[in-house]
């Protein structure tokens, strides 16, 4: 962490030496970097950094206090994804968006509440005149891949039956040898213990609609909440300097089949980089378990040894899942 005066001294020197520095960072990147600072109106986290941005950002994201925060956020995101998708290092993408969302206070429920068209007509006109199509633009993110998952439950909705689910867990094939990460140890636990654990998870989670969410258990017994469309053969992706986890799918099944290897863990080989598609956000359960900062760093460090790298193409929708949960 660098203090603000130190950051300002460094940046001020850079800018006085080289005027073109102004073109290097989009307004979105500036908001991600400096938006932690305080101001009375959240929109000022964008407008208050406006003058530091390249001309294209200033032309498209105009200062307009009649817009809501959500509208400002969307034009910021859409401009960045169309014109600045290569401006950041791929391994930093997830943490950049995590910071952006935290700085602007953009949460998942915030986005769900504003299902307005992502770009207003005037905006998409501007985008088209810039030569960019208003969709299908992506930003590439790099991270490490873990998994696949070991077990995915039924959706945690009204029909969720704890004892049936517990039986299914016990009956599940290929029990891994797992350490105590929260979920009961399979070998030494009773059906009641599993039922109890699932009963806890089923309890309503404030601010989270769990009807389309399932419980995922990985091969080490760690638990996650994932979108119900996640399958057991999907993978978990981790990113440098970020606590965000994503569930992703390897689409090229035929590659895996032809490898002839039956062990699922070795489906993706160490030291290789794979391109996966994002399915959704995975949230570690229990929620808000304090994870000290070093854990993320440690994850990135240990996984460097025998890592399987992941490259994800994030479209605007996927980037929005990186909001505050």
């Amino acid at each position: 962490m660098t203090s603000i005066p130190a950051k300002l001294c460094k940046e001020q020197s850079r800018r006085s030496e080289d005027k073109s520095v102004q073109n290097y960072r989009s307004l979105l990147l500036l908001c991600s970097e400096y938006g932690e600072a305080d101001c009375a109106d959240v929109r000022d986290k964008v407008y208050g950094l406006h003058s530091l941005a390249p001309t294209c950002c200033r032309m498209i994201i105009t200062v307009d206090y009649s817009l809501t925060l959500c509208q400002v956020y969307r034009s910021l995101l859409h401009h960045h994804i169309h014109q600045h998708s290569d401006d950041q290092r791929p391994e930093k993408v997830v943490s950049i968006f995590e910071n952006l969302h935290r700085n602007l206070g953009v949460g998942v429920e915030h986005l769900r509440a504003h299902q307005a068209p992502p770009v207003d007509s005037q905006q998409s006109e501007t985008l088209r005149s810039c030569g960019a199509s208003p969709c299908k633009c992506t930003i590439t993110a790099l991270g490490n891949v873990d998994g696949p998952f070991w077990y995915i439950s039924h959706p945690l909705n009204a029909n969720f039956n704890c004892s049936k689910e517990a039986q299914a867990v016990i009956a599940h094939q290929e029990w891994p040898e797992w350490e105590d990460h929260g979920f009961p140890d399979i070998e030494h636990s009773s059906l009641e213990m599993f039922t109890q654990a699932l009963d806890d998870i089923k309890k309503p989670i404030p601010g989270l609609d769990t009807t389309e969410i399932s419980l995922a258990i990985d091969c080490e017994g760690r638990m996650y909440l994932v979108p119900s469309i996640v399958r057991p053969d999907d993978f978990l992706c981790k990113f440098h300097s970020s606590r965000i986890l994503l569930a992703a799918r390897y689409e090229r099944e035929e590659d895996l089949m032809s490898s002839g290897d039956q062990s699922r863990m070795s489906k993706l080989e160490f030291g290789q980089r794979y391109e996966l598609s994002v399915i959704g956000r995975a949230i570690e359960y229990p929620l808000h378990r304090p994870i000290p900062g070093e854990t993320t760093l440690a994850l990135a460090r240990t996984s460097e040894m025998g890592s399987r790298y992941v490259s994800l193409r994030l479209d605007s929708q996927a980037l929005q899942t990186l909001a505050i949960v």
Binding site: S3, I4, P5, A6, L8, C9, K10, E11, Q12, S13, R15, Y34, G35, A37, D38, C39, A40, D44, K45, Y47, G48, L49, H50, S51, L52, R58, T62, V63, D64, Y65, S66
Partner: protein, 260 residues
């Protein structure tokens, strides 16, 4: 006079709304500037605002400060009672008797905050306003003892330090030697306190500083040039790191004994 002003304020001037003296900005290259009148400490602060066209010859200073708590004081603006927040009131008090009467650009007064379209336009012009100002005044507040001490020290260093060409390691060592004493520690703490003023936590100051041509930091009656302030991060911290790095100490010792 002052007491009367406050009473008047409480009754009828809660938000300075619809003040008649805001002449709409006629053209997109027009801004308002604030002209401070001289005065004695007991006199009410008097100032006028005028619409002016921006061009290269326009000389003004732009203020970078935090609005602070909603505690207001009364000033006289274009002959009318006007409420400003306490922090700004201190700025006006501090600078009203400055020798040359250079006008100021101050967001709270020079933008008609109640006119949304003017606010939209002026906020988008702030980069130009701050970069074209002859100097940006950074106001850290009325100044507490520690900040004053830090500013004195940094000014002293600025004067003493040789020009960058012959910036000798000998000079650096002399400063670091001094900082290792209990007195020096006190000074380090003073510098830390200067960097922890709540001014630095505000978002607006980022672009105000980064767009500026020239910056002067003010804390109470003390002033410090940005170049001297920067030394904290360019010289001091690098030096402190070396001071606590065993390898450097070893090399340094060997060099010294060699010289002797």
């Amino acid at each position: 006079m002052n007491t009367l002003g406050h009473t008047y304020l409480d009754v009828s001037l809660p938000e300075n709304s619809d003040m008649p003296f805001y002449t709409p900005l006629a053209a997109s290259d027009e801004i308002r500037l604030l002209y401070l009148e001289h005065g004695t400490p007991e006199q009410v602060i008097k100032c006028t605002i005028k619409n002016v066209k921006t061009d290269v010859s326009l000389r003004y200073m732009a203020l970078s400060y935090m609005w602070g708590p909603i505690v207001t004081k009364t000033i006289e603006l274009n002959g009318q009672q006007y409420a400003v927040r306490e922090n700004l009131w201190h700025v006006l008090l501090r600078f009203r008797n400055m020798g040359r009467s250079i006008p100021f650009w101050i967001d709270a007064i020079c933008i008609n905050q109640d006119d949304e379209s003017e606010r939209n336009h002026q906020v988008s012009q702030m980069g130009a306003i701050y970069s074209e100002a002859m100097c940006v005044l950074v106001w850290l507040g009325v100044g507490e003892a520690a900040s004053s001490e830090a500013i004195d020290m940094l000014n002293q260093l600025g004067q003493d330090s040789p020009t960058s060409d012959d910036y000798s390691s000998e000079y650096e060592i002399s400063i670091l030697d001094e900082l290792a004493t209990p007195e020096g520690n006190q000074r380090l703490l003073a510098i830390l306190s200067l960097c922890r003023q709540s001014y630095w936590t505000r978002l607006w100051i980022i672009q105000e500083i980064l767009m500026a041509k020239d910056i002067i930091i003010c804390s109470g009656t003390k002033t410090l040039e940005w170049e001297s302030f920067k030394w904290i991060f360019n010289g001091l911290l690098i030096g402190v790191r070396q001071l606590f790095d065993p390898m450097t100490l070893l090399v340094e010792k060997r060099e010294r004994s060699f010289c002797q």
